[in-house]
């Protein structure tokens, strides 16, 4: 039982982080906060992937004399790509937030809705 918990602790924490990030995205009305929540959500997915790639007693996937056991390089590559995608999305999202602020004068979702409906 203990082994099972230790062996899955990583996954569960990353799932917990996913829930926190996801909740921040869908429940908060502030546009910047949503983007930060999205970042948390994405980072937790990275954690999940890297947890999958880890090998106990393994070393980083850089060839060294005398080392036999390496951790899995493939998820690392995938996550490198995903991190880049994440920062690209963040930059675009924040640029949108700046423009929304300029156009509406607020970055709160409720107030934006009100402004659009009173038009």
């Amino acid at each position: 039982m203990m082994d099972f918990i230790i062996g899955h602790y990583n996954y569960w924490v990353s799932i917990f982080l996913m829930m926190v990030g996801f909740y921040a995205v869908i429940s908060r009305g502030n546009l910047v906060k949503k983007i930060i929540g999205m970042n948390v959500f994405q980072v937790s997915v990275f954690l999940l992937y890297i947890s999958i790639s880890t090998v106990e007693q393994g070393s980083a996937p850089i060839f060294t004399e005398g080392v036999e056991l390496y951790s899995n390089p493939l998820p690392h590559v995938l996550i490198l790509t995903a991190i880049v995608v994440g920062v690209a999305t963040t930059a675009l999202g924040l640029a949108l937030v700046v423009r929304i602020k300029e156009a509406y004068g607020t970055i709160e979702e409720d107030e934006i809705h009100e402004l659009d409906h009173t038009l």
């Binding site: 799932i15 429940s27 998820p75």
Partner: protein, 327 residues
């Protein structure tokens, strides 16, 4: 054993930080915490042997993303999130709980953390570990998988970054004048002397380090992407200390835009050259006399393309954000 222990402690820290991010309403404090969150996750990646990922996450998450978020709250002049009472919280909450429950259900069957016999470790990955060094001549398997075996993904990644640059320019690139600053004051730098002296000393070091990361990526953690981020961080530091105008005198934005395109073109171009030489797209083996030499040359070139593109795009993004609303 100690690594498992550190792993668990760091995971607990990161969980606490995430909850705090969710609960706080002061955006400035949230962004500070997000910096810590990124540092923590990067450390976790380092502990879990994903050195390249740790490298990138620290530079991107704690560096670029945080700076961009700061720029955004500066531009939107919003420090506090309004918490509305009208929101119905049960709907998002139940969606999240269902999602989490499904995920936990899914992980019950996952092999234990670190199991070397897990399917993920036994099918495709061993090929890279056994053959990559021999086939590409690079000790860093992450680099060889990144630039060669899955080189097309990496091309896509560079294009994503480029797209973000185009998108930010489309959104914020135009001249936008804010009304309240009529006086065109001369950029007189009031930043403390200490900071300027230190920055003058550090920036060359950072640039040298970026070049080291660019070309050492074949052997250790690093590569084009990380080098590009670090190099742009150096210029960002310069901008922060000496002012935006000074930075734009050093690197004019028009040059940066050309560099960004150039980086992508180098990567795509290498692929086209390999087709012309009779290989498949991005098959670097045809570039050199021997297979390994070709791989080596190809990886070097595409990493260079990645470095240039990432450097230029991230800097364009930062400068566009920083220059928005400039009188």
């Amino acid at each position: 054993m100690i690594e498992v222990f550190i792993d668990i402690i760091l995971l607990s820290f990161i969980a606490v930080t995430a909850v705090a991010i969710l609960r706080m309403t002061n955006l400035f404090a949230i962004i500070m915490l997000f910096g810590i969150f990124s540092f923590l996750s990067a450390s976790l990646f380092a502990v879990m042997d994903a050195v390249d990922v740790a490298f990138t996450e620290a530079a991107v998450g704690a560096g670029i993303s945080t700076v961009l978020m700061l720029a955004t709250i500066a531009l939107t002049k919003t420090q506090k999130e309004k918490v509305s009472v009208s929101h119905r919280h049960w709907l998002p909450l139940s969606v999240v709980i269902v999602t989490g429950a499904v995920l936990v259900y899914g992980t019950l069957d996952l092999p234990a953390f670190g199991d070397p016999e897990a399917p993920a470790q036994t099918h495709v990955a061993p090929y890279y570990i056994d053959k990559a060094v021999e086939e590409t001549g690079l000790p860093n398997m992450v680099t060889s998988v990144l630039a060669s075996y899955r080189g097309f993904d990496t091309l896509g990644e560079v294009v994503v970054v480029f797209t973000a640059g185009v998108a930010v320019l489309l959104l914020l690139g135009g001249k936008h004048r804010i009304s309240d600053t009529g006086t065109n004051e001369i950029e007189k730098n009031e930043h403390s002397l200490i900071l300027r002296v230190v920055a003058k000393f550090l920036i060359p070091l950072i640039i040298v380090f970026a070049l080291y990361v660019q070309f050492h990526g074949d052997f250790g953690p690093g590569g084009g992407f990380q080098a590009g981020v670090i190099l742009s961080a150096a210029i960002i530091l310069y901008t922060l200390v000496f002012g935006l105008d000074a930075a734009e005198r050093v690197i004019p934005p028009s040059i940066l835009r050309i560099l960004a395109s150039l980086g992508v073109l180098i990567y795509t171009g290498v692929g086209i050259v390999t087709i012309l030489l009779g290989g498949n797209y991005l098959n670097y083996s045809v570039l050199g006399d021997s297979k390994v030499a070709g791989q080596h040359l190809g990886i070097l070139l595409v990493e260079l393309g990645v470095g240039i593109a990432v450097f230029a795009v991230l800097l364009v993004i930062f400068l566009t954000f920083a220059g928005r609303g400039r009188p």
